[in-house]
Symmetry: C2
Subunit: 434 residues, 2 copies
């Protein structure tokens, strides 16, 4: 699967499937037309300080100037956003009375823009109203939001396809989020050219997010085993468990990761590989946005939230940071060893897709085989050797477990029931990987 | 992939991907809730005479009675509809001032309901306004339609996922249609239980439609080679050529057809096989609804439209009929022999998925290998031996070619350019298959 440099996939919310243009358009053209089609009069462009100087944002600005449409730029998005940084963006959106939002960036930017759009459309709501329970009130979203065009510049979060916005809730030092189909972007513009500027470690960490989206959604609790069963389809949660539709996307994304990720990380000029990882990110996003994720993600939130001094190579930020994809993948060997007994066939299939030699492998080896395959994959990609290497020790485990407990929204999609002791052991087993 | 009898997939237009409920709901429950969520006050239920006596329609009627919502039933849909039968349904819809439409049936019912909904929402439009050019004017649809819930009872057309409504245009004795995202159903309720009542030949012919949707969309002209390139995304046609997203669905549907179709045809009680074919129909629908089909479909329209005396086994109709799926599949060996040189890898991959022995097969054999594989597949499923067996002779070829010419909407997605002579030869090669 090879794209020309200028091929752009647009992802429309109102269709069953994505539309792929046959236009060798660049971002200027696409955003311009789409803004006009949406009848935009007053646009909010959100991005971060770093991106605001780079080509994708410049292209959108150029496009906006040409249309003569009014716009304001908010470039103060925090990488790995917090409730404080969300609120600042929300205030900007409330004051602007915008009729269309455009988010240019990675998951942090797109998620922040989703939240800004949501609360600007519900000016009387309290911030915790729509935040996932038990941290927030998890209220349903009833009013219509403004259109949001998402232009992803990393190949990881799949945020352009999902109804989820994640942030660090500082009072509890834990990540949580807002999850509702209502905040899903109206349109995603997926242009591989934008990912060519990703530094090597950003490509690696965002790729790990794709890998775990695919693996977790493919092994998530099956949709027909999830409880409680809502009495009305409208009350269904965003994450519904693995199902015949999400399976197609999760498995396909995993194949693409297996084929392209190492090439994409090592060679930023490898357009085929970077394009494919960008699409893999979209595809895994449709999979997990429908099925959900489970323990790697649930446990990752306190890993990023409790960061002490770890500074992330390749990221232009001034604060300590365990990048999201890294915090997710570090527990993956332990997690899939733990979940394998519940659906060994899927774990074996995943290991095979990732290149494991399956001769003489038995059903009961599923966990060990997938874990070893992941260890090799991470080692080849020069990943830090476990939680120990990003600043954690055994003493931190109680805090990490405590930060995982509120992540029920995702952890209850784990195919295997688990206690706090199980979580402790999973964190402990992840202190060192190799 | 196995579903319990009562598992129901609901397909929502407003999401990226389908939602699959974890509810062991039956159709009554689902339609009831969804009608309430849509605020229905006055429902139009469309079906055909035969189905109106069967369980799926009874379940919906029972559900409607319980809600106390007003409704009217139109059960006069014609199997393989015509402009006349469309117009009759449109008149019913115009007179009823309905706020929600429910279509329970195969492609004929769902397509008729799409047309009725469309023209009832555009009461001043002339019938040909929205019909595909060159037969109609192909005008864009600008006004919003009423919600349409589609409940497919066959596993073939995928009409619940597409923005296409096909009918016989009697003045030209050719099939044509209306194609616009605007007429796509709001919600599809895909319950395998409904397909258990399909007679063996209906299961076979609708399965062939799925097979050809998958094969044609997978081999359609690639999206980045389609011309002309529209200047605005809103002007893009419904059928965009094969692309990385449709490919996922087309290939996956083909795998399911290969695995389940023969079982589903032979044993109506094989719930796993019939469920899987029902889902394969949905999946192929997303694939071709996005990529398009080409020659098998383009050539099928005059094959059904010019029918003389052939009576279709298993169909409760009083008029001569070459069922849609049969009219599509009869030319498939000839068509894929013809298209193979343009993308031999895809033809070889399709043959392999359908079970061909690929040892010692060369690239230049792609067409012959796929054609032979299809012949074996059709023979095993006891398909009539070519166009000759459904009442055509060489003398009919000029009329069949003439009826194919107006099918530009699909035939221009053929990966290989073709003349009228080419079409003649394809029809001739399809007179006898084995």
């Amino acid at each position: 699967m090879c794209f020309s440099a200028a091929a752009t996939c647009t992802v429309r919310k109102t269709d069953y499937a994505f539309e792929v243009t046959n236009q060798t358009v660049n971002i200027k053209f696409s955003v311009l037309q789409d803004l006009q089609n949406l009848g935009a009069q007053n646009v909010c462009l959100m991005t971060d300080k770093n991106l605001s100087r780079l080509a994708p944002v410049k292209a959108v600005l150029d496009s906006l100037s040409k249309t003569g449409v009014r716009y304001k730029v908010y470039d103060n998005v925090r990488v790995e956003p917090t409730d404080t940084s969300f609120k600042e963006a929300i205030l900007f959106a409330k004051n602007g009375s915008f009729d269309v939002f455009v988010a240019v960036g990675g998951g942090s930017v797109i998620d922040t823009c989703k939240a800004a759009n949501l609360y600007a459309s519900h000016p009387d709501a309290d911030f915790l109203d729509f935040v996932n329970a038990p941290i927030g009130k998890g209220k349903p979203i009833t009013r219509a939001l403004k259109p949001l065009i998402a232009v992803p510049t990393t190949a990881g979060t799949g945020s352009e396809t999902t109804g989820v916005a994640i942030f660090d809730f500082e009072p509890l030092k834990a990540k949580t989020g807002i999850a509702s189909r209502a905040i899903r972007p109206t349109l995603g513009i997926v242009d591989p050219v934008h990912t060519l500027s990703m530094p090597e470690r950003v490509a690696a960490n965002s790729g790990f997010d794709v890998l775990c989206h695919a693996l977790e959604s493919y092994t998530a609790l099956p949709y027909n085993q999830r409880t409680p069963c809502p009495h009305d389809p409208i009350a269904r949660p965003a994450y519904q468990g693995s199902n015949p539709i999400s399976d197609v996307w999760s498995r396909h994304a995993l194949h693409m990761v297996a084929k392209y990720m190492k090439r994409a990380v090592r060679d930023p000029e490898d357009l085929e590989a970077r394009s494919s990882m960008h699409l893999a990110s979209v595809f895994a996003g449709i999979g997990f946005g429908n099925a959900g994720v489970h323990l790697c993600h649930g446990m990752s939130y306190p890993i990023s939230g409790n960061v002490k001094t770890h500074s992330a190579k390749g990221y232009s930020v001034e604060h300590p940071l365990v990048p999201h994809g890294l915090s997710v993948v570090l527990t993956s060997p332990a997690v899939f060893s733990f979940t394998a007994p519940m659906c060994p066939e899927r774990h074996l299939e995943a290991a095979e897709i990732l290149g494991a030699d399956m001769r003489q492998v038995k059903r009961q080896d599923a966990g060990a085989v997938l874990a070893d395959t992941l260890r090799h994959f991470l080692f080849d990609l020069q990943v830090e050797d476990g939680l120990g290497a990003v600043g954690y020790s055994k003493d931190d485990i109680p805090a990490l477990v405590k930060g995982t407990i509120p992540q029920e929204r995702v952890t209850r999609l784990c195919p295997r029931e688990h206690t706090e002791d199980d979580l402790s052991q999973l964190f402990e087993a992840s202190m060192k990987i190799y």
